[in-house]
Symmetry: none
Subunit: 417 residues, 2 copies
């Protein structure tokens, strides 16, 4: 079973945006055992759209198209579709109602651009787009499935997960490719590879391993191919169990889990709560935590103590301690964690203090030096890390490292590295 | 003048890597006035390579190909090239020497895979790859230029900058394309389109407009084409000046600027500083601000007041006020901003309180209801917004809206919508 992905619009062709949609879609389709034959980016010129659809449809059973839909730019795309599929535009009542529903709470009156979005090709099956005004369009034409979605990533993902993938699964009996992603934190890619070398060599022929590094973690993806799904699941589970014995403290989750989400579960299980005191991470740890729905159950709040004045006035740190040891020090970061625990009245508190860069480094404490502390009911722990010379990456890596320290403390695992 | 980009290899098709090469190449070619007609990713199957080269060569004058070259994977690609260009492989002495030079300091003995890399199609012009073992290959065939480069980003960039772009510049007298991106905040795509309709219609033939919406802002991109760069710059500047008169409060920057970065500049100019009190945005506003290098000059810190207890204990809000009006209310959010200004001792403070979702909504205050306040030396202002039903988007939009409120207050512009 083969599919093609097409993106319509100038943004990618002029290099203004990187096409991240296609990688995401390719992964999801791969999970269903569908190979991607080709990925194509084109402009919204109608003749180019039509010839690209024709070529793709001749070679693949599924053609997924993103972009070219949206209030200000869908005329050309829609008329190209009508011409290709031999149909005309009609107003769809359900789509019009949905657009009106979206606009009302925002206090926006429907204008003609909004109304035009309810015009859809008559022969299309309409895929409800809960998150936006442009619906997805599904065509079956000459034995090929064509699907059109907006290019806005979260709308595309919503449509893929709720409408497109379930329909594709129902339509086709696909070979099984099972993917499992293992999330690790605390080891770089090459150190990790060295640590798990024997395990990697022991993987059977039909299981492949990929390293997917990012500033937040190194993910390991196992892909198993075969006909017997149950057998594959058992096989892959066994290999993961072996891996967990080799690197027990480095694995913090699987698939789409996040470190902060995992910590949320651990805190809920223990009936405990959390606060943060952030200097160099500047609110990002609180942000990572509060991205999780329901985080108000276990997260009480935080102090972004960016200036020393706030460290003293709000967290109650002795100004002499800061003067003596420096804000980026073991003593100050521990005092921040203890202070946050007291001010926010929480069971646990995380604190960070470091030099995110690009300026502010000294020979003693170069850019990337970050002290992290965790204070809990029993004890205060802290450690220093040396990250790289890139501000955004430092913030992300410090945040993840801090959360991982708390995770291991909650699990009472001895922290290594 | 049109070009096409082709990537060869599975990594992109299985979604393992995002194709960042194409965006980089597209920008570089655009700067030379060369349009990208199409970007295509394919596997390394020889027949697929050949048919893709043929289609691209029929439609474009320049075809740039990355990937499919390298010690372990170039056999299939090179034999496809020989078949397409009607040539054979010969050993190139200069390439062989270069490979040997690269291997010596790494202490690697040349193996047959390395030696095979010195086999190149006889009809190709060889482009010296200082940074790797696989050379670039340049063909002129049927009035089209075809260039093949390794997919490793730094090798591709080296070849583009040192070999490919200089040759293209010498070969073609290229037209100029200028892009300017205008960043707006506060209007959805369709309302914005309506507001600037006459202006859009007044754009001359050689300037085109694109809407690029994201949760953070709607970007407007103007693209001007012509021969006279100075004239184009003047023309585009005039149209932007006109636009600024039509939507003065909605434009917050240009190109890669961020809202928070812009605010940093405004605060520095005024010698003023800032603090935040965040409930529903959970630290994200502080994070947006502290992503900017040097933000410690104007950002003192923040309180993430996620629980009501922290609102009361740290920000000093009257618990009766929360009980009477609810945490998501005009009175509480204004008290939060005033409290933050006092506790953090800042000139300005931003506060947010809302329902990020997916749960916690009521008929009165549905998910997406967000109160925002800004307290300054002169006054406290606040407003309510109604965003959508998507947690992460709500957090981002609330953060941007709050920062924009502060921006307009700093500029003393009356806030509309």
């Amino acid at each position: 079973m083969e599919a093609e992905l097409i993106t319509i619009g100038d943004e990618i062709l002029i290099g203004q945006i990187v096409d991240t949609n296609s990688a995401w879609m390719a992964q999801k389709l791969n999970d269903e055992g569908i190979n991607i034959r080709q990925i194509t980016s084109i402009s919204d010129k109608p003749d180019h759209i039509i010839s690209t659809l024709r070529e793709a449809g001749q070679k693949s059973s599924i053609v997924l198209v993103t972009g070219g839909l949206g209030p200000t730019k869908d005329d050309r795309t829609k008329s190209a579709l009508c011409s290709y599929f031999g149909t005309t535009l009609i107003e769809n009542g359900a789509v019009l109602d949905h657009i009106a529903q979206l606009l009302i709470p925002r206090g926006i009156l429907m204008n003609s651009l909004n109304r035009d979005q309810a015009l859809v090709p008559a022969s299309a099956t309409i895929l409800h787009n809960q998150l936006g005004t442009a619906p997805g369009l599904w065509f079956k034409y000459d034995d090929t499935i064509y699907v059109f979605m907006p290019g806005v990533p979260f709308e595309m993902k919503y449509l893929m997960e709720n409408e497109v993938l379930p329909r594709i699964k129902r339509l086709y009996n696909t070979t099984t490719i099972l993917h499992r992603t293992i999330l690790t934190q605390g080891l770089g890619e090459s150190s990790l590879a060295e640590k798990i070398e024997y395990w990697e060599d022991s993987l059977p022929e039909n299981i492949s391993l990929a390293y997917l590094p990012s500033p937040q973690s190194v993910r390991l993806r196992l892909s198993a191919r075969g006909d017997n799904k149950k057998y594959l699941m058992k096989l892959i589970d066994e290999k993961i169990k072996e891996l967990e014995e080799i690197i027990p403290t480095y694995i913090f989750g699987f698939e789409d889990e996040t470190m902060a989400g995992n910590i949320g579960k651990l805190l809920c299980e223990r009936g405990m709560n959390l606060g943060v005191a952030e200097s160099c991470t500047g609110g990002n740890i609180a942000h990572f935590i509060t991205l999780n729905p329901g985080s108000s159950v276990y997260f009480k709040g935080g102090i972004v103590a960016y200036s020393n004045e706030v460290k003293v006035n709000v967290l109650g740190i002795d100004p002499n301690l800061i003067a003596d040891r420096g804000a980026v020090s073991k003593d100050v970061v521990e005092a921040m964690a203890v202070g946050a625990r007291k001010v926010l009245k929480t069971d646990y508190a995380i604190a960070t203090s470091g030099i995110a860069g690009p300026d502010g480094g000294t020979p003693d404490k170069p850019v990337g030096t970050v002290w992290i502390a965790v204070a809990g009911p029993d004890r205060v722990i802290s450690k220093v890390s040396n990250f790289a010379n890139h501000r955004e990456r430092n913030i992300i890596r410090s945040s993840q490292t801090a959360l991982n320290m708390l995770r291991l403390e909650l699990l009472k695992k001895y922290y290594t590295v």
